[in-house]
């Protein structure tokens, strides 16, 4: 039971007044950013990255844990009360949640969602505590070829599975990979695409890219939509905050099922919680339709409880995969990876040995953060909703100021401000023309890793391409990937044929 004693030490590290303050501040900020429509935990972490520079790493990561889960708690509040999900992870839970709010059960929807987030996050964190060390041990068997296979897996999965169109996903990925090329090539020392500017020798800072794509891109999108979809109505939440015994009986199995669906998706790199949340929504809907009196379509509590639990469970195990394998499986995890690198830490098998105090303090702060967030969200959800009453122009003006401040505070380079504007415009154009943003981040983060590992493999094997697939682990990964893509293509072709058939019969 090494894990338990390590976790105990972690708790001892976190349970100091100063570190508890960081958890609390993180949870508060994360929820606040999560509540804002269109902004999720990935962006909250990216914005806070520069601010935490003067903290010690443990304090900073404890705060990130609060931010990470705070974003997931908060994004459902605006979804339920305004029908504008705070983030794509909350879309599935919004469908039934907003209907519950419309029928006067907003408080119960918020409670079901907060408890769901708590259950999903806690169970996932427990699993991480017990299995991440063994996962890390397994990962020590990985060589360059295996890491390349994992990166390729992440590339294909995030581009193909997440977006509606594989072409658009791959296009976004290519943009990300291209951005990542800028800078000095670490293996040969050749300067690539820097136009001779010394400021670019280290490459484009990941904080610049995330803040540009996620924060400034969103602000420009909001500006572009001005006058079209702003006037969403806010439903006020009144009445009892607690679930009745009947509601609890309905919600409990949904929480557990949602968690079970969400957990595996944290380890598979499919880019976050969209897939598991919708899977959970679909499952709850099908299960409810078997019994008489299904509330789906009229505000079913299971429709909120399931997807919310799934979303948080995915986020929890995604952190496990990041810590143990060094592999980001979602945009948020990608930003967290950037955070680790800012502090000179490389997530992966060695992290558990080299920075074990930090790792266990981080894991302990997951649990503490979860409790703090439950307290912050369960009774105070209506208060959070008040944040949505702050005029939107002030909210987004504040975000812009904070984004520019953060960028400048990190590097003191005016060039970074120009880059963040350019990338913000790119982010706006991508949103406008339906290109997913997540593959760009994965491309930027994993691109250099894929290139290095590829070149290492080829150098070791003296140019024999078979070395890429010769180990059992990498071969398995490629086979699973090929099967997955084939299955996806067949399924898409079938849906397309069914739609065409339906159109013809209708005509």
């Amino acid at each position: 039971m090494d894990s338990l004693s390590n976790l105990g030490d972690g708790f001892l590290t976190v349970l100091t007044p100063m570190n508890m303050l960081w958890v609390f501040v993180g949870a508060l900020l994360g929820t606040a950013v999560g509540v804002l429509p269109g902004l999720g935990s990935a962006m909250a972490v990216a914005l806070l990255l520069p601010v935490t520079f003067s903290l010690d790493p443990i304090g900073a990561f404890i705060m990130f844990a609060g931010v990470l889960f705070g974003g997931l708690f908060g994004d459902s509040i605006s979804g339920i009360l305004m029908n504008t999900p705070g983030n794509s992870t909350a879309i599935a839970g919004t469908i039934e949640g907003h209907k519950m709010a419309q029928s006067g059960r907003a408080a119960q929807a918020l409670a079901a969602s907060a408890i769901a987030s708590f259950v999903g996050g806690t169970v996932a964190s427990l699993l991480v505590v017990f299995f991440a060390p063994s996962l890390a041990r397994l990962a020590t068997l990985f060589g360059p070829a295996e890491y390349l296979a994992l990166a390729v897996f992440a590339f294909v999965a995030i581009s193909a599975v997440v977006g509606e169109s594989i072409l658009r996903g791959l296009t976004s990925l290519a943009i990300g990979l291209a951005i990542a090329l800028v800078g000095i090539d670490g293996m040969s020392g050749a300067s690539r695409f820097t136009a001779g500017m010394p400021e670019l020798f280290d490459g484009i800072n990941i904080v610049v890219i995330t803040v540009g794509l996620l924060a400034l891109g969103e602000v420009i999108t909001v500006a572009a939509r001005r006058g079209t979809s702003e006037e969403a109505k806010l439903i006020t939440s009144t009445g009892r905050l607690w679930l009745s015994r009947r509601e609890f009986r309905l919600a409990l199995p949904a929480w557990l099922r949602g968690t079970a669906i969400g957990v595996p998706f944290g380890i598979i790199p499919v880019g976050g919680s969209e897939v598991p949340t919708f899977l959970s929504y679909g499952t709850e809907r099908r299960l409810a339709s078997r019994k008489p009196g299904s509330m789906f379509g009229k505000g079913a509590i299971q429709g909120v409880a399931g997807p919310e639990a799934a979303g948080n469970a995915t986020a929890g195990t995604a952190m496990g995969a990041l810590l143990a394998l060094g592999l980001p499986t979602s945009a948020t995890a990608a930003v967290m990876l950037a955070a680790f690198r800012q502090y000179g830490l490389q997530p992966g098998p060695l992290l558990f040995e080299r920075a074990s105090e930090l790792v266990w303090a981080l894991l302990a702060s997951f649990f503490i953060g979860m409790v703090v967030l439950l307290i912050l969200n369960l009774p105070f959800a209506p208060l959070w909703a008040k944040l949505l009453k702050v005029p939107r122009h002030y909210l987004y003006a504040g975000i812009t100021v904070f984004a520019m401040l953060g960028i400048f505070a990190t590097s003191s380079k005016v060039l970074d401000l120009v880059l963040v504007l350019a990338i913000g415009l790119l982010g706006f154009a991508m949103r406008r023309y339906g290109l997913p943003v997540a593959p760009v981040l994965i491309g930027v983060i994993l691109g250099p890793l894929a290139e290095t590992e590829f070149r290492r493999t080829m150098a070791v094997s003296e140019g024999d391409p078979l070395a890429l697939v010769s180990s059992p682990i990498s071969a398995t990964l490629y086979i699973v990937l090929a099967l997955g893509v084939a299955g996806l293509l067949i399924q898409r072709a079938r849906t397309a044929r069914a739609q065409r058939a339906a159109l013809e019969t209708a005509a």
Binding site: G40, A224, A397, M404, E451
Partner: protein, 202 residues
């Protein structure tokens, strides 16, 4: 939705429905930049193969391929001909999803089709230009004016382009926010922000 002659480039809204072609164009430019940069790259002599030029070549190739495919996709499936007007779009607010599904793309709304002369407001160009202009001004003025004034100007400008009409109140709010940040950062966190013309005051 689309009329039989929709694929005719002489149609007045032909290009307007295909502004998405900007993305393939951008990819094309990226591909060209990568290709030129790869060819002109100064590679140290003793580099093990595969060298630093392989990945840029692959990605440049990818950019060209996806540019063509995306262009074909946008060409064949243009955006809806009619555009949601301000009023019509405000009636059915769509979730602001992070995956880029445009809220105003619900242009097959009956209210929108009834509008006599639909305006393309789904991208509110003055607001976007105002916002970008504000940010550019901030970048230019940050070092000469210092954080407090430039930051206040940024807040004020963004709030204004996003629809705030309380000009004077905003000035005070903006200065309060940028001064607060300056205090928190230099006094609390020990980070330096450019003082600009207010140097010596703080």
């Amino acid at each position: 939705m689309s009329t039989p002659s929709a694929s005719d480039p002489r149609q007045p809204d032909f290009w307007r429905r295909r502004t998405g072609l900007i993305m393939p164009l951008l990819l094309l430019v990226t591909g060209i930049v990568l290709a030129v940069g790869t060819v002109t790259m100064e590679v140290p002599d003793n580099v093990a193969s595969p060298g630093p030029q392989l990945f840029p070549t692959l990605i440049a190739g990818g950019c060209f391929v996806f540019a063509v495919l995306l262009a074909v996709d946008v060409w064949r499936r243009p955006e809806p001909a009619r555009v949601a007007t301000r009023a019509a779009a405000a009636e059915n607010p769509a979730p602001a999803a992070a995956d880029g599904t445009d809220a105003a793309d619900a242009a097959d709304d009956p209210a929108a089709t009834a509008a006599p002369e639909p305006l393309r407001v789904r991208s509110n160009r003055p607001a976007v230009l105002g916002l970008v202009g504000t940010v550019v001004a901030f970048i230019v003025l940050l070092l000469p004016l210092g954080w407090i004034l430039a930051g206040a100007g940024l807040f004020w400008g963004v709030a204004r382009t996003l629809g705030s009409r309380r000009t004077v109140f905003d000035i005070f709010l903006a200065i309060a926010i940028s001064s607060g940040i300056q205090l928190a950062f230099s006094a609390g966190l020990g980070l330096n922000l450019p003082p600009g013309i207010l140097e010596g005051v703080f």
